[in-house]
Point group: C2
Chain length 491, copies 2
């Protein structure tokens, strides 16, 4: 018994330790090495099928093991580093100047990714704990793209060194350098389901689980937070131009919840149209989709909707699609995509004509009702009614309440632009003397220095010979030196 296990151990040692390989053993494993080498160099010799399969399987096995090992090793290392960095940044709280970034959109996220967390304590405050890939929203609203693929958790984006607080900033005190975040108990955030926060008595319909749930997972007490530097990147909200009924009856296309609602409304419209006792007029109304606003959002949604109808819904509702479905795009100007090149807007109009999307140009929407849209042609007093079911409102943006509040606090004589916060070319908000507030993105407008105000000093700077005139060479010098300062003029 004992001798056998010793022998076994010996054999194990010999095989496992390469230094103890005998010459005979080397000869034994040589063909294997050669074969493997041959495989790597692309040459292959005559082999039996079984041998080949065994060799391939062995190689596959080795590659899999090594790959999995590398993957898990790397993952563990990543986690270890993540936790380390997190606790490091916890320890240094208070020692570094604090930067508060408001927002998790296109303005805030690139900044958060590149800010130097060794120099600053960075806190991100936003009511939305994910980054949303807004250009894909029209695709989400028709189901081409899945909802989860267009969002990314803000915590995984910004890493362990930046703190994130899901809260709604309602006030900024530029003197005391303090932001106030509201108690959010009643407020809704478009995370996909806002019914919890609506205070109506619980009701439940026959059989379905669709209820108003008043759980208490969302309880946010008010808090204040001091900052040394504040970055406002809170974006904008939908502009209804005070058109009556838009808030109540039209869908926006700005948040994930909007896209999900539109998707469900399209499905509802088709299923309603399939109800046996539906009248023809009602069916035509149900399948009339109206998009207001011929900008990129409206045009993209109209095109996606037409694709959905033609490619997918046609299969299940061939009769409806052939006779009743109608898509109308309403634009106030005389061209859609008017901010782009004439060629692009012409092409789009022709393409929409082929796709049976009706484009109403020079048309204003006067009111949105529950089952119709009231329109008015330019240079005409006549009002016309379009019976329809789903209305998507994509006419543009306006400043959020917090932006306007901040403008008022600073002073409307300095912050005179109603579209957003005026900043200097370094994105510092105008009227904040210590330069502690920055603004970027949709909520900000850069006020470029006017060339005309400094024309005299510029001239003198370049006119080195004090001749009172510039030659070509001097003018070139002027342009080259000042292009970064006046990009709007010299580009």
């Amino acid at each position: 018994m004992f001798s056998r296990s010793t022998q076994f151990l010996q054999r194990l040692t010999i095989i496992n330790s390469p230094r103890n390989l005998s010459f005979k053993q080397l000869n034994h494993i040589k063909p294997t090495i050669n074969r493997n080498l041959a495989w790597f160099s692309g040459q292959s010799r005559k082999e039996t099928f079984g041998g080949k399969l065994r060799r391939r399987l062995k190689n596959f096995f080795i590659v899999t093991i090594v790959g999995l090992g590398t993957f898990y090793g790397y993952r563990s290392y990543r986690r270890y580093r993540w936790f380390n960095e997190m606790s490091d940044s916890d320890k240094t709280i208070g020692a570094k100047p604090r930067v508060i970034v408001l927002g998790t959109g296109w303005g805030a996220v690139p900044l958060l990714k590149h800010i130097d967390t060794q120099k600053y304590e960075v806190v991100c405050v936003s009511p939305r704990n994910y980054f949303l890939m807004t250009p894909l929203l029209p695709s989400v609203s028709v189901g081409t793209v899945e909802t989860r693929t267009v969002i990314e958790s803000i915590r995984s984006l910004i890493g362990p060194r930046v703190k994130f607080v899901e809260a709604h900033c309602v006030n900024v005190d530029p003197e005391a350098k303090i932001i106030t975040c509201s108690s959010d108990g009643e407020q809704t955030v478009s995370r996909g389901d806002d019914v919890k926060a609506i205070l109506v008595p619980s009701r439940r319909t026959d059989g379905a689980s669709s209820r108003i749930i008043k759980d208490s997972a969302r309880v946010r007490p008010e808090f204040h937070m001091k900052y040394d530097i504040l970055v406002v990147a809170i974006g904008s909200e939908n502009n209804t131009f005070n058109t009556p009924g838009v808030e109540e009856h039209a869908h926006f296309l700005k948040e994930l919840l909007d896209a999900r609602r539109i998707r469900s409304a399209i499905s509802d419209a088709f299923e309603s149209a399939m109800t046996p006792t539906q009248t023809l007029a009602e069916r035509k109304r149900l399948l009339h989709f109206v998009i207001v606003g011929g900008g990129p959002t409206g045009v993209e949604f109209a095109a996606e909707l037409a694709d959905l109808v033609r490619e997918d819904l046609q299969i299940y509702f061939p009769h409806l699609v052939a006779s009743d479905v109608k898509i109308t795009l309403i634009e106030a100007l005389d061209h859609i995509l008017s901010m782009m090149d004439k060629k692009i807007s012409d092409y789009t109009e022709r393409h929409f004509h082929r796709e049976n999307i009706e484009v109403l140009m020079n048309t204003f929407v006067k009111e949105v009702k529950q089952r119709e849209v009231i329109i008015q042609l330019k240079d005409s007093d006549e009002l016309k009614s379009l019976p329809c079911s789903v209305v998507v409102w994509a006419t543009g943006i306006k400043a959020r309440p917090l932006t306007n509040k901040l403008r008022e606090i600073i002073g409307l004589n300095i912050q005179s632009n109603r579209m957003g916060l005026l900043t200097d070319p370094y994105l510092r908000v105008k009227g904040v003397d210590d330069g502690s507030i920055f603004a970027l993105g949709d909520c900000a407008t850069i006020q470029m220095p006017k060339l005309i105000d400094r024309i005299h000093s510029l001239f003198e700077e370049v006119d080195t010979e004090h001749r009172g005139a510039l030659d070509v060479q001097q003018f070139r010098t002027l342009v080259e030196k000042k292009i970064t300062e006046f990009p709007q003029v010299f580009k």
Copy 2:
């Protein structure tokens, strides 16, 4: 000019038609064939790298073209057949007996897939236009599985020959053989967003697009439909055992919307706990998740939630997970998974203990409040309060209102089972004399014929020699003949 094009045409003809191949040309293409054959038979000859690459690329190109051609050809053919079958079944409406199937769940869909549409005109009526893979709901509620992967459009499942109407059946008249579907304008269906249908004034919170939209895509007039055969497969609804507060404050886990709401509530709870001014007690309450019901749904959800916390949320909320998160499972009996084998429930309890899921056995929930659950131990009068945020209620099912209505119409003396419709072993609903109503799934209970009632006739049937006694052979004959009729006895 003319001669050149003739020559060109001739050359084309020669090359394109294999019959006109000259011997020289054959010699020219022979090596290619040989090489390709060699590739198929697994032999390879010494080749230059460039030649090999060219050959591989050519093969790849051919395979791609052929593959794409086959795919698109097959798709077009499928579509063509689909439309053909659809219009065929439109033409024969009224000529065949009509089968109406109520429901799109586990009972209805397999039936709809196998029913012979040549013999019957089949109509499916359900308020839900998709099939839901219910066992995956716990995974959806924690985000392991994406919502869209657990549902499948009912129209694509049942094919073009079955008509589908999204409607809510509210009444059945077994005498006139007519079903009534309600006007669905006010009713909500859990398609993912039910806010449209709730009639509260439109309100909108600062900045977010979370509004109540009253669009008019869901307008369903009431209609009646005659049937020759009715199949009731409407399933069941959640049983609250009349516990106060469950409807208002607990989440169910039965429809897709429930899963989505739970997911959003978990996220809310963690974000609320991260708010800077949150007290310790409130943080512990926010991160206390309570699951009521130790059946498969409750156990699976508890396990998924524990996985989510340990594997994913731990990265972003390490301090919270380490100290404050708590999961409690409440079960009224003395074991969880009590309907399964003792070994399974023991293993689950041990595993939950390791996973830090607290299991409260022999405990009844007396009331669910917005921030707490009131529990009572068996054999005790003392009430105890568990402060918590998200409560998931998974205690079992009960009959839907339509099931009970149908039971009343037929007569409660025949339909005496409160769990659902009593049927005979052929799934015919008891008390419907012409056998025109069938029921299956959660809404039905099969009433097996009682062996004791027919013991006399059975005995006489087998006792061929009228001895008044059975030998082993005769008893075996009895079992073999009657096993299909009395599966509950002879299995």
